[in-house]
């Protein structure tokens, strides 16, 4: 999953990312997820920030040490501090907080993507569990990784992680303002789910000549639109819209009621004639009685087989329905040789449902 944000609402994108990471970690700790643990590749924030957010999310320190591993690419990404220490002939003091020695591993060569990949997988393999243990990976953030390595190597890293048989899910944060559009798109293509954090108030001239008026930021830094695009296996794209609200340490997702975009309509091809139904047509369609459907009105079901005589048609009050008169009246009194009982699965199942039963197939 790719979480994308832009400068106009960047703190919220980061909060959303931290929230997702904490949620995945707590699911792993509670045994609700396939993954047994979460590996956080931290570039932008100190590892203590992640641990703090997870503690506030409800994980206790025992669960943290069991289910969370942080690859610290924030404290000393290029090894400068280690060089300073070796020049001064000092002991390696390791991580600042000694109680978190197992949870936090410092990584010092972020330009070496292969080494990074190996470190992530090694940390993931360290989770305890019987049999094959799965783990999730969170990358915060891809934008910082792209400063040290090329797009190709990073996308190679992500592809390798994706195809690794022990990794159940990967999610990352990306700042769309910091890269060319084609690079953001390339990473979106790699992902099955893209969550865009969009500003509530869009100021198209932000950063340019609109000097001084930044009042819209006040709103944008507490609320944002959360738009999720989910790519299903059969190729269909599902959209979800929510509103993201940040108050202090709480991150709330509210399903947007005002967003009334009909997703189905967006799937119709754009042609010059009208493929949609009007209200009357919709209600007429709802009134159509399907053949073989048991109406339960007490009348015998009459199947129209295409042959009916004119006088019978005139007398028939149910002219518009599909249950037209049977041609031979003799058949009515005789014992029916065969019957068809049609029981619908559910009355409110819409014909164009989004749920594709073929989705369960794992070919």
């Amino acid at each position: 999953m790719a979480v994308e944000g832009s400068l106009q609402c960047c703190p919220l994108a980061a909060r959303a990312m931290l929230h997702v990471a904490a949620a995945v970690a707590s699911n792993a700790a509670a045994g609700k997820a396939q993954a047994r643990g979460l590996v956080v590749v931290a570039f932008d924030r100190s590892p203590e920030v992640y641990l703090d957010i997870m503690l506030r999310h409800g994980l206790d320190s025992n669960a943290l040490s069991r289910c969370v591993r942080i690859l610290d690419c924030y404290s000393d990404p290029l090894g400068w501090k280690q060089n300073i220490r070796s020049e001064q002939h000092q002991e390696d003091s390791g991580t600042p907080c000694s109680t978190n020695k197992d949870t936090i591993t410092i990584f010092r060569s972020v330009k070496d993507v292969d080494k990074l990949s190996c470190s992530i997988i090694d940390l993931g393999r360290g989770f305890e569990g019987e049999g094959k243990t799965y783990f999730s990976v969170a990358v915060d953030s891809i934008s910082s990784m792209l400063r040290h390595a090329s797009v190709q190597s990073i996308s190679g890293l992500l592809s390798n992680l994706r195809s690794h048989d022990q990794i159940s899910s990967i999610f990352w944060l990306m700042h769309s303002d910091l890269h060319e559009t084609k690079f953001s798109r390339a990473f979106e293509c790699l992902s099955t789910m893209v969550a865009c954090v969009e500003p509530e108030v869009v100021d198209s001239v932000y950063g340019e000549e609109r000097r001084g008026d930044m009042s819209f930021l006040e709103h944008n830094y507490s609320k944002a639109k959360f738009h999720v695009r989910l790519k299903r296996r059969n190729g269909r794209v599902k959209h979800l819209y929510e509103e993201l609200c940040v108050e202090g340490y709480d991150v709330k997702f509210i399903s947007a009621t005002s967003v009334s975009i009909e997703v189905n309509q967006s799937l119709l091809p754009k042609v010059q004639f009208n493929l949609e139904l009007s209200e009357k047509e919709r209600s007429d369609r709802a009134n159509v009685v399907l053949p073989f459907e048991h109406q339960g009105k007490g009348e015998p079901i009459r199947i129209y087989d295409g042959r009916r005589s004119l006088p019978e048609a005139h007398q028939d009050p149910n002219l518009t329905t599909a249950a037209l008169l049977d041609e031979t009246e003799a058949l009515k009194s005789a014992n029916p040789k065969g019957e068809i009982h049609y029981l619908r699965d559910s009355d409110d199942e819409r014909p164009d449902s989004d749920e594709d039963p073929d989705d369960d197939l794992d070919i």
């Binding site: 400068l7 924030y74 501090k81 700042h175 000097r211 001084g212 006040e218």
Partner: protein, 298 residues
């Protein structure tokens, strides 16, 4: 009395619901609201060390402060103010600063801050201020050695911060860079190396109770095609102070407008008033600067 003179007339957004026609019951209510406001302000003055709009807008927990300016509205005065406050912080012990100066020599800062009531030479002698004269940075090295020079500069800064912390004063230390655009020039345009250096300075802020203040010239990057240093800095900043000229042009009483955006995510980085975005005017004086809401200058 001093507080009253500073804030009349009251900013509109603070007292929006109060009737401005001074009927007597409302006038006493307004007086009471004024009194509570000023008592609060006084408390904050003690907390922040100064009673102006800028210190109100800047929340105390901001660790990475980015100051943006342009040719029409230079914001060097903001750096001078913050430097003065950093050196004055904590009274007896605590507080210290490191100034990485690429723009001006020491004599310039000494002269300017002396008029503001702060003796830089004395602070430099007593090792509360560590001055890095980087006008000749990196000094002869070329090519891939830029990264090494920056690494060495970082090592010097880290050493200074560590010695200060190890001493008896454990107050907030401030690392100030004037300015990052010149640092990029010194690095032969390599924004990546400068960003690496800045990243390491940012790690100092989380590990060693230190804050980072950098000045960057926003108009240099406005016409750039690619993503420059400015966009990256805006992302890492907890607090962005942007100086811009007035849209109406030059004026004698008002030198420009200042926007302060609190981007910090953590709870201790919330500003006291809860408001994240502040916008007001400023006038630069010999001994400091005045900050006031638009229209409240008489």
């Amino acid at each position: 009395v001093c507080c009253l003179r500073h804030a009349t007339p009251a900013p509109r957004d603070r007292f929006a619901s109060v009737d401005t026609h001074a009927h007597s019951p409302l006038r006493s209510m307004r007086l009471r609201t004024y009194v509570t406001y000023f008592l609060q302000l006084e408390a904050e003055m003690e907390e922040y060390g100064a009673g102006d709009l800028l210190s109100e807008a800047m929340c105390a927990g901001a660790r990475v402060v980015v100051v943006e300016d342009c040719v029409e509205a230079p914001a060097a005065f903001v750096l001078h103010l913050l430097l003065k406050r950093a050196l004055a912080a904590g009274g007896g012990g605590g507080g210290g600063a490191a100034l990485l100066a690429l723009a001006q020599p020491f004599s310039h800062y000494d002269r300017v801050l002396r008029k503001m009531g702060c003796n830089l030479s004395m602070h430099r002698k007593s090792e509360r201020l560590h001055f890095f004269d980087l006008q000749g940075f990196p000094g002869g090295t070329q090519g891939g050695a830029i990264a090494d020079s920056l690494a060495q500069l970082y090592s010097a800064v880290q050493r200074v911060v560590e010695t200060c912390r190890a001493g008896e004063n454990a107050g907030r230390f401030t690392v100030m860079i004037d300015d990052v655009s010149l640092l990029e020039v010194a690095a032969n345009g390599s924004a990546d190396d400068v960003l690496d250096f800045l990243h390491y300075c940012v790690t100092l802020t989380s590990e060693m109770n230190c804050s980072l203040v950098v000045l960057i010239h926003e108009d240099i990057y406005s016409s750039e095609d690619g993503v420059g240093l400015l966009a990256h800095l805006r992302y890492i900043a907890d607090l962005v102070i942007k100086a811009a000229p007035l849209s109406t042009g030059l004026a004698t009483d008002v030198h420009g407008q200042l926007s302060v955006v609190n981007k910090g995510m953590l709870i201790e980085q919330r500003p006291a008033k809860g408001q994240k975005v502040w916008s007001f005017h400023f006038k630069v004086k010999e001994n400091g600067a005045d900050f006031f809401y638009p229209g409240s200058r008489h």
